[in-house]
Structures are given as structure tokens and as C-alpha cells.
């Protein structure tokens, strides 16, 4: 029995954190809101590919890193912590497993692993994050289909979080069917990945807010010395600390292919979504008017949290599914 990340998982996470600290500061996140901005994001994507993060779930025999969802969840938590404005979850966590599972029928995996092809994913005709950056798309409906460059068009959609680069995918060619993984399995991967990202977003908002309330003075003292503020942030901490093991277990269950994976993923998405939207609200409150500005960075994380809490199933939807899996 051991319920903690292994040393090499921690090492990869630390490596990614230090890369993102350097290459994905808040200015980069902000710049991603520009619909024409993309060149610097491309080079960041290239570094992630080089590090083996994009191909994390691809077997080594296919040129990937050969790791599993335990590590993917840690990586996506770091992506959330940095508010990485790239569709890493979709390309790494959904599209590549679907492509590999189907035996790479479009012959595109090498290009994706090299960081040359960003793949967006849309479910049931819905909004696709990263669509306006993407070179290719996986469209999930009753079937799963891959569309390469020139085989689809994108209608941009404005998210509350402009760095999401949302769009709707319209196929313009027959595309390549991807059999192996069921649409529902791919959706669950999205839910699991979003849960992990949410944890990172929440952790970062809490860190920002702790630093702020230590420095901000009112009535001649730091506002962080007020019990009301302490209790808000203690509640945020409790919520995140108890969501984290639920996400870690869901990742383990997914990686091991356990029979309770679906229930575990739904519990994780519900917990992480609730904990992080609660964190966003309390952190905004503790910042006072400062947080309610476009110029202050809290909003970048908060809006991403709103988006991710709702996408791939909201908390109530997932609790309903936990109930179904429990047989009630």
C-alpha cells in the first residue's frame, strides 16, 4: 500500500513546474487572449512536446513517454496551476489515446508527438477548447472521427476566459473513423483531466490570495490577521486538500482499469469543481475590489476555473452519475 506519487512522478511534475514558471507566466496567459496571438504559444507547445508531456500517455513503442493517468493527472494539475492556455488535456489526454487506440489510421501521431500538430476535441457538436489554435480535430458524437488539416473549419466562440481559444468544429471532409475507444470513455478522460487542472487552479488562487492578505493592510494590520479572512481561506484549503486524494484515486483507477473508474472519475470532477469554484469565490472576496479588475491576474485563473468546472459535466451532473454507479 502506498497512496502518494512515486519519486519519478514527482520529478516530472517538478520539471514541468519549473518550465512553466519560466515560460508560462501570467503575461503569457494574458497574451493568449489575443485571437491573433499564437506564435509564442506554439513554441511553448513545442517545449512541452520535447519534454515528453504531450505524448505522456503514448506507449514508448509508439514514440511516446509510456506513462499513465497517475502521472497525467499530476501534469494537468501543474497546467492548471500555471493556467496554461493550451489544449494539453485534449491533445494529450483524449486525442492521442483515441488515435493510438485506433492504430493511428491517419498517420498523424508522429506529428502530434513532435509538437507540430495540436489537436482539439469536441463532444456532441459542443465547444472545443483550443480550436482556434488547432491543426486537427477529434470529433466525438455517436462515433469518434479524426479530421486532419484542411478537413474542418472552426467558428470561433468567445469564452469568458479568452485564453480558452474556443470554437465549434465543422467537418468539411469525411475524416478518419477512430474505433477503439468509446465516446463515453473519452468523455471520462476529459472529466478526469479537468478535475486535475481544477486542483491546480485552486491551489494557485489560494497561494495568490495568501500572499495578498499578508501584505494588504487595513485598520493598521494585515487583513490576513482577521479571523473572518482566515476562516475563508482555511475553508478553501480544506476543500482542496480533500478533493486532491479523490482526484488521485480516480487517476489511479483509470490507470489500472479498475471497475470503479467511472464512479471515481465522477466523484473527482464533482469534488474538484466544487472545491475550486468555492476557492475562486472566496479568493475574490478576500482580494476585495482589487480582485474585481481586469488588470489583476486573479481573474485569469478564476475564469478558467468557471470554464473547467462546467465542462465535461458539472458537479451536480457527476454526483448524479455517482449515484447511478452506486445503484441508487
Amino acid at each position: 500500500m502506498r497512496f502518494a506519487p512515486d519519486p519519478d512522478q514527482n520529478a516530472l511534475r517538478d520539471g514541468l513546474r519549473s518550465l512553466l514558471d519560466k515560460r508560462c507566466d501570467p503575461a503569457v496567459v494574458r497574451a493568449a487572449w489575443d485571437p491573433d496571438g499564437g506564435a509564442s504559444l506554439r513554441s511553448l507547445w513545442g517545449e512541452l512536446a520535447e519534454m515528453g508531456v504531450v505524448g505522456l500517455l503514448v506507449p514508448e513503442s509508439d514514440g511516446g513517454s509510456g506513462l499513465d493517468w497517475e502521472t497525467a493527472a499530476l501534469v494537468l494539475e501543474e497546467a492548471g496551476r500555471a493556467a496554461l492556455p493550451l489544449p494539453l488535456l485534449e491533445t494529450m489526454g483524449i486525442a492521442l489515446p483515441a488515435l493510438i487506440g485506433a492504430g493511428d489510421p491517419a498517420g498523424v501521431v508522429a506529428g502530434v508527438l513532435a509538437g507540430e500538430v495540436i489537436v482539439a476535441v469536441s463532444f456532441d457538436g459542443g465547444l472545443a477548447p483550443g480550436a482556434t489554435l488547432a491543426d486537427a480535430a477529434v470529433v466525438v458524437g455517436d462515433d469518434v472521427t479524426f479530421y486532419g488539416p484542411g478537413e474542418f473549419s472552426v467558428t470561433p466562440a468567445q469564452s469568458v476566459d479568452g485564453s480558452r481559444r474556443l470554437g465549434r468544429i465543422t467537418p468539411s471532409a469525411p475524416g478518419t473513423p477512430l474505433g477503439a475507444l468509446e465516446p463515453g470513455q473519452l468523455f471520462d478522460l476529459g472529466a478526469l483531466g479537468a478535475a486535475a487542472e481544477l486542483l491546480g487552479l485552486g491551489a494557485h488562487m489560494l497561494e495568490m490570495t495568501v500572499a495578498y492578505v499578508k501584505g494588504r493592510q487595513q485598520y493598521g494590520v494585515p487583513i490576513g490577521s482577521f479571523q473572518a479572512v482566515k476562516h475563508h481561506l482555511a475553508d478553501v484549503l480544506v476543500g482542496l486538500e480533500f478533493a486532491r486524494p479523490v482526484v488521485a484515486y480516480a487517476a489511479y483507477s483509470q490507470a489500472q482499469g479498475l471497475p470503479d473508474a467511472r464512479r471515481a472519475v465522477s466523484a473527482a470532477k464533482a469534488m474538484a469543481g466544487d472545491a475550486t469554484t468555492f476557492a475562486a469565490r472566496q479568493c475574490l472576496q478576500c482580494h476585495g475590489a482589487m480582485g474585481y479588475t481586469d488588470e489583476y491576474d486573479l481573474q485569469l485563473w478564476m475564469k478558467r476555473a468557471w470554464a473547467l468546472a462546467a465542462t465535461y459535466g458539472g458537479a451536480a451532473w457527476h454526483r448524479d452519475r455517482v449515484g447511478t454507479e452506486m445503484g441508487i
Binding site: 500500500m1 492578505v213 476562516h231 482555511a234 486524494p245 469534488m271
Partner: protein
């Protein structure tokens, strides 16, 4: 990450399960917080001890099984799954014993631990006073140095099962000049000593689960000091870690309670209250989160880390989740909820969780100051 049990752990679980199946009293015992119920619980404790299940994680020479912390988690899961009785010895074996293992002299350990394991000595906690609750450092009961020992005067209160216990572990002010955390001494007091008066009184549920304990020139010998004169605060804080954290509230207790809640929901699903299913599911997820969090804590302890202020987070979580779980049950029961049955009893008991062992307001201060690093003032 590896969540598979070793063969030894599986065998331990199987042995615990079959023993509990064969021995757990049926029907369930009445509350252990009345004189009659306590006596029945004591028989159960003796039964546990006879087959070495009373203190599984203790060394064998004191009546335990040298079980690992993982096996302790397994035992607790099986214990609550089997619907076994509440542990009326818990304040001794879960709160005092960890302190004795850490601070006791070999003589104290040899003298006290075997009798505690066998439920011959029954320990209650003497910390709170009329004037010192959350602000524990404000205690005023005194220990004055006399020839060969200490003379105790003062009053303790909210002493759980004090009216039924034989011994008390408590904090006393041994240096009247010292303030607050300084000048306190941790003392072990037999309740049959001359000058001790114990008066039981009713808790919220009406059972005589509380007591106040009066000390009028009570003499205890020097051997009654645990962990050094004037060291009481440091010694006592080692116990609060146990009380707030892992040992007193094992996950098995809550996963078993949620199983009963799910069963209750099934029985009432024909006329389910709107929203009830969502609350039942949330209760299940909350208990699962606590179970998984505990697996992380046990992993950390097994690898040599000691839980610090994080135990405050733990206490906030289990105590508030326990209240929500029981509220969900009462809602399902509808008009039957007010009956003085197990769910109402459980609800009343759950309400004590956010209060005892340091109120959750104090825990939130600790979490904010010691985990997040916010300024005290």
C-alpha cells in the same frame, strides 16, 4: 501509487472479520454512556482483550499484536463494518496511550499500558475546566509540590464518561507564577484517591456521558507526572494531534455510517424527498474523500513524516461531514426523524464533533496560521 494489500494484510483482515462476525454482540449493546450500558461495554472490552483485539497496533508485550498502521486501518474498517460497539476505552487507548509511548518512563509504560489494554484501568481526560475550554492554556487547577508528590486542587469538567472511569489524565498548573502554556504539568490521577469527587451529568442526548471532577487536597505521588514537571503543554499537544487527527476517528466509522445511510435511502426511495439522493451521494463522496485522505496520511507516517497542523484540516472535515451525513438521514426519515432512535442519537452525537477536541473555529485559526502562514495578529 499502489493500493493493493499485501498477503499478510489480507490475512489480517480475514482473521479480524471472522472473529468480529463470531463475537460482536447481537442485538447491539445499549449506549455506553449510562452506568448499565457502560458495564456491558466493559464486558465487550474484556472479550476484545482476551483475543488480543483491544489494542492491535500496540506491542505484543502490552497486549497488542504489533500491527502496522495499515492493519490498524483495516481493523477499524472491519470493526465498524461489523457494527461492533463503541469503544468506551477510547480516551485511554487512543489519547493517553500515544502520549505514554512517547513520554512515559519504562516503569510507567510497564505499569499502566497492560492494565489499560485489559480495560482494568479506565481513563478519562481531565483537560477542560469551567474557565478553560478552547483556551486550554487558561486552566487554573493547581498542583502544589509537597513531600514525595503533588497536592491537587481545582475542578475539571466535560469529562467524557468520567463517572464510570477509574483514572484521569489531566493538566494542572504546577507553577502558579508561570503564565499560560508554561508551568503546567501532565498528571495521572486515580479517581479513588482521597479528596476526588466525581459528579456525572447529562449530555445533549440525556445520557450521563459527562462528568465534572473536583479535587480537594488530593495527593498523588511523583510517579504520577508524565513527561516532566512543567512540560505539560508540550506533552498534552502530542495527544491533541491524535485526537484531531487519525486515531480517534478512523475512516471505517464513516464509511460504515454512509453504508447505513445508503441503505436508508433505498428503504425510502419510494417516497424520496426531493434532493435527498444528491445529499446521499455527497455524503458517500465525502466519506470516500476522508478514507483516501487517510490513506495519504498513513503513507506519510509510514515513511517517517509526522502529521502536524494538517490534523486540524482532518478534524474540520470529519466532524462537519458527520453532521451533514446525519442531517441527510433525518431528512429521509421525514416525520419519523424526531423518534429517539439511532439516527437521532447519531445526529446528536455528531453535533459534538465540531465542538470537542478544540472547536472548529480554533481549528480554522490553526489551519490558517500554521498551514497557510497567515499572521496571528
Amino acid at each position: 501509487m499502489d493500493l493493493t494489500w499485501s498477503e499478510a494484510d489480507k490475512a489480517f483482515r480475514a482473521e479480524a472479520r471472522s472473529w468480529l462476525q463470531a463475537n460482536v454482540p447481537q442485538p447491539a449493546l445499549p449506549s455506553g454512556d449510562t452506568a448499565e450500558g457502560f458495564a456491558l461495554h466493559l464486558e465487550w472490552e474484556h472479550r476484545l482483550y482476551e483475543d488480543r483485539w483491544s489494542v492491535v497496533s500496540w506491542p505484543e508485550r502490552y497486549g497488542g499484536r504489533d500491527a502496522s498502521l495499515w492493519q490498524w486501518v483495516i481493523f477499524e474498517e472491519e470493526y465498524y463494518r461489523a457494527g461492533a460497539p463503541q469503544r468506551v476505552t477510547q480516551n485511554g487507548i487512543f489519547l493517553l496511550a500515544p502520549t505514554l509511548f512517547e513520554f512515559g518512563t519504562p516503569e510507567q509504560q510497564d505499569r499502566l499500558l497492560p492494565r489499560m489494554a485489559a480495560a482494568q484501568d479506565l481513563w478519562c481526560q481531565g483537560w477542560s475546566e469551567p474557565g478553560a475550554g478552547s483556551d486550554l492554556a487558561g486552566i487554573s487547577s493547581r498542583a502544589a509540590k509537597v513531600d514525595g508528590g503533588w497536592m491537587l486542587n481545582g475542578q475539571k469538567t466535560w469529562t467524557t464518561r468520567g463517572a464510570f472511569c477509574t483514572h484521569l489524565f489531566g493538566l494542572f498548573r504546577s507553577d502558579p507564577e508561570a503564565e499560560r502554556h508554561r508551568g503546567l504539568t501532565y498528571l495521572l490521577v486515580p479517581l479513588d484517591a482521597a479528596g476526588v469527587t466525581v459528579r456525572g451529568f447529562g449530555r445533549l442526548d440525556g445520557d450521563e456521558g459527562f462528568a465534572e471532577v473536583f479535587f480537594d487536597d488530593v495527593f498523588v505521588s511523583d510517579e504520577a507526572v508524565l513527561g516532566g514537571v512543567g512540560e505539560g503543554w508540550r506533552v498534552a499537544m502530542a495527544t491533541t494531534g491524535s485526537e484531531r487527527g487519525l486515531t480517534l476517528r478512523s475512516p471505517g466509522r464513516f464509511t460504515a455510517a454512509v453504508d447505513r445511510l445508503v441503505e436508508l435511502y433505498r428503504q425510502h426511495s419510494g417516497h424520496a424527498v426531493p434532493g435527498a439522493r444528491d445529499r446521499v451521494v455527497q455524503a458517500w463522496i465525502d466519506a470516500e474523500a476522508y478514507r483516501l485522505f487517510t490513506l495519504g496520511t498513513v503513507t506519510a507516517i509510514a515513511e517517517g513524516h509526522s502529521p502536524g497542523a494538517e490534523s486540524s484540516l482532518n478534524k474540520i472535515w470529519w466532524s462537519e461531514m458527520d453532521v451533514r451525513l446525519h442531517e441527510a438521514a433525518l431528512e429521509l426519515l421525514g416525520g419519523e426523524a424526531e423518534l429517539d432512535g439511532p439516527w437521532m442519537r447519531g445526529f446528536e452525537f455528531s453535533l459534538s464533533g465540531p465542538i470537542y477536541a478544540g472547536t472548529n473555529e480554533v481549528q480554522r485559526n490553526i489551519a490558517a496560521e500554521r498551514v497557510l502562514g497567515l499572521p496571528r495578529k
